[in-house]
Symmetry: C6
Subunit: 84 residues, 6 copies
């Protein structure tokens, strides 16, 4: 069994919610959501076994997209929505 490296379990990659652009903020949201899962399940093989199942299941994909939306809401607020 392979444990994910710590870098894959960091809670807030880069250590800040502040990003230069909305696109970077979105990427951070995706990463934070993924790292939450790595934090709960750090075994690479288990995650790889699950991939074919959830990645082909609409409900799982929708649920994952919901987590990204919630993380992004926090990051967007942190950045005052990157208002010009």
């Amino acid at each position: 069994m392979t444990q994910l490296p710590d870098s894959e379990r960091v809670g807030v990659p880069g250590g800040t919610l502040i990003t230069a652009t909305a696109e970077e903020g979105r990427a951070l949201a995706v990463l934070m959501a993924r790292h939450s899962i790595h934090r709960i399940q750090p075994v690479l093989e288990t995650l790889q076994d699950g991939r074919p199942i959830y990645a082909a299941n609409a409900d799982s994909l929708i649920a994952a997209s919901q987590v990204i939306a919630i993380e992004f809401a926090t990051i967007a607020a942190a950045n005052n929505y990157w208002r010009p």
Copy 2:
């Protein structure tokens, strides 16, 4: 297997949460929700296989509409709710 083009995986299409109208904000929310899924599952055939299932399943449709509602809440706040 066909990988979706990068344009279908952009986190924040157009690069900003600021839109001229609430309707445009709503369209952006739908797009961002969809692109989240594309980001997790970029294989077109897999997405197409899933469409007949989730698009005819009320619970899946409701779950997807929830993600849109959350994304829209962020976009609406970004635009001060397009208050006149």
Copy 3:
């Protein structure tokens, strides 16, 4: 197969989140939630087929009411909660 008219797929019916009353805001939330689903699944027959199932399933009804609650939260904030 009958495609829903565009009017049933408008993201923000009326084009604004601003309503005169909380009741109108609630009606808008219901409509926006419903139109999200129409946007994903515009075929009338498919929606009609699903109705008997979700409308008699408590979990589906609860999930739908959650989407309304989230949409309403956004609309209520937009209207400063219709504070007197």
Copy 4:
């Protein structure tokens, strides 16, 4: 089949989110959540048929309590959390 009266389908009973106390706000949240369901499914018999199922199912009860929590968050914000 018995259609629920309009009073059971009003979106915001009392027409305002403003309440005198947090307890009243909580009661309003419960009512609004329930009326969302009545709005989607107005047939009394169907609702009564569903009661024995969801009211004895922990997951359904938890899901319903989540909707109340979201509605209450909106009402609490509307009332500035009834801060003294």
Copy 5:
């Protein structure tokens, strides 16, 4: 069948969202979530029958923890996050 006492169905135990500490706020969130369920299902035996099922089911426990998180978000905002 035993009906829970009114004290177990109070919406906001203590009648206020304002607490002295974050820990008290968390306890209030747990209580409010629980009382939501009691309000929907006031029969003690039914609740007790459900306990062995949901309390040993990870998904049910996760769903319940989500309701606590949402209630806590409201209480924390009410208390300005107990900022020093």
Copy 6:
């Protein structure tokens, strides 16, 4: 049966939502989410029995990551998003 120690059931470990860094805030969110579950289900053996199931189930992992995202949103707001 082993009851988890009180320290594992504390609602807000450390007694405050205020943290020095976003990373600490994220760790607090994970801990608070976990302690919610411990508060509902304090028996260690039951939690250990559930681990192999939820930790290998994508939907459970996604649901857990959603709770972390909601808790984090509250903690981030408490800390003004650790804005520089």
